[in-house]
Subunit: 301 residues, 2 copies
């Protein structure tokens, strides 16, 4: 089954304690689409400026990602610039310029509309809703969120939550949105707001899945070196929706969702091993499956 | 097989955002011994002052913990006082008074010396070494450490590491002692210093086990309410050694050690559900096994 990934495509400038890269491929939808492409046919929906390099579009094309839903608008591509501190778990946004994203109104192609799984990547909830409204009914809707919108667009987020099947959110955002310091309570509260399932991402500490009376929790893959964690959460969400699409099932059970989280974890670990989407681009199915099985051996008891 | 637990027995004063308790039973050896007592015969080794309440000794006696190795010295019992902040993950030590612990020289009974498993709970590494030297050869030695000694007694700790089988250490201490920001690297480096196995405790984020080319990682048990996390790490270590003792095996494999970590995780979760050792004292084998199996269902995929 085909999955659409809708959200920001960006040019990132990333500085770590050891290295700096300018104008690399970034944006949550880019990471998620590339990650998902190892599992299922992917259609990318978003906007770039006229300055967007052709070689970045080739990255998508080479992975057979359908980019008919990627609009080129007059102006500059969305830009994000960030800096990581010594432990690589802390970062600051140095600069952000929405550029062509500001006036963008998502328009889905007929093929986009017919996708059976949709990932609404990190963007303004109003735009996530615009994508959602164009989809044919019955698609599995997964949405990712971020604190920027939790603070400024709570009503639109609540509206979105009522219409999606699975929310992916990070630890700090979950506590902020659910107004509790306890993460388990936060997961349950977010489920009560609409989605059948809630996934809380905890970065290097793993992820949790909340269902109806069901719960799954996992660690992260052990990495001895993290070169650039940018996009790890997006690669996680991409692996998750990609794996779910690959199952070609009308009805997913809790075990399917648990395994999708482990595949997301595996894809996030690859993502951290290089700058931008470099490591994600060059994977093989064997490498992904091998890490999945290695991960299982690390966590079974 | 019998396990000895050697270390501080204390009177704690604990303040959380909602409650304060004075002079409750505390000390890392108390928590660990009570936790271990659900799995195997336990012998406690330590010192108390003449002010130590008889009802606290009865707690040990009621759980059939052998306290012949607990010396009563002239003076006051070791006291610790701490305060937790709103999220219960941060605490500060308000006051600490070593009292009778300062001049204490551990002396093991013949029965103590014959134990096949020993937990050297959090105390000065010189005292951990004194206990270790009195044990009959061939016992499995597990030691717990804390940052106080990492900073001030590095040489003694290195000496200890060369003589133990398993080191239990928390996340921050592991990074500090191994001088790296990467926890996986820290685990490997600590193993290189002597112990066959290293366990890194991550509190609410679980624990990791490092062996010779082997690795196990697990999350924590999901708690919606944490009343008092004091002693959680000690209850973890107690469950770990208790379970290992219960196996009555001459040679432990990596799976045994992985399961011991899960039992430690389960005991730590009970510990957090009440002040002091209150919850730990009233458990049944069924409750422990039930939570172990519940935990397995939460983490299997």
């Amino acid at each position: 089954m085909s999955v659409i990934v809708a959200g920001p495509i960006a040019l990132d400038t990333i500085e770590t304690p050891t290295e700096k890269r300018d104008n690399v491929l970034g944006g949550s939808a880019s990471y998620a689409a590339i990650s998902a492409s190892y599992f299922a046919p992917v259609q990318l929906v978003g906007v770039v400026g006229t300055d967007f390099p052709g070689e970045h579009l080739d990255i998508f094309r080479n992975l057979e990602i359908d980019i008919h839903g990627v609009e080129t608008a007059e102006g500059e591509t969305f830009r994000w610039s960030g800096r990581y501190f010594d432990d690589m778990n802390q970062r600051e946004t140095v600069d952000i310029a929405l550029n062509v994203v500001a006036a963008y109104e998502p328009k889905l192609t007929p093929s986009n509309k017919a996708a059976r799984v949709a990932l609404l990547a990190n963007m303004a909830p109003q735009k996530q809703l615009q994508v959602l409204e164009q989809l044919e009914s019955g698609a599995l809707i997964v949405a990712d969120s971020m604190d920027l919108w939790i603070n400024s667009e709570r009503e639109a987020l609540l509206d979105l939550l009522r219409q999606i099947d699975l929310l992916v959110i990070n630890e700090g955002e979950a506590k902020l949105f659910a107004q509790t310091r306890n993460l388990i309570t936060a997961g349950h509260r977010l489920r009560d707001l609409g989605p059948d399932h809630v996934v809380i991402k905890k970065g290097e500490h793993g992820a949790m899945l909340f269902g109806n009376g069901q719960f799954f929790s996992t660690v992260a893959y052990p990495l001895t070196e993290v070169l650039d964690p940018t996009g790890a959460g997006d690669s996680f969400a991409g692996g998750l929706v990609g794996y779910l699409s690959s199952l070609k099932k009308d009805s997913l059970d809790f075990g399917d969702l648990s395994r999708s989280i482990v595949y997301g974890t595996v894809m996030a670990s690859f993502n951290c091993e290089s700058f931008s989407t470099d490591r994600l681009q060059g994977l093989t199915q064997e490498q992904i499956d091998s890490r999945f099985h290695e991960f299982r051996s690390y966590t079974a008891f």
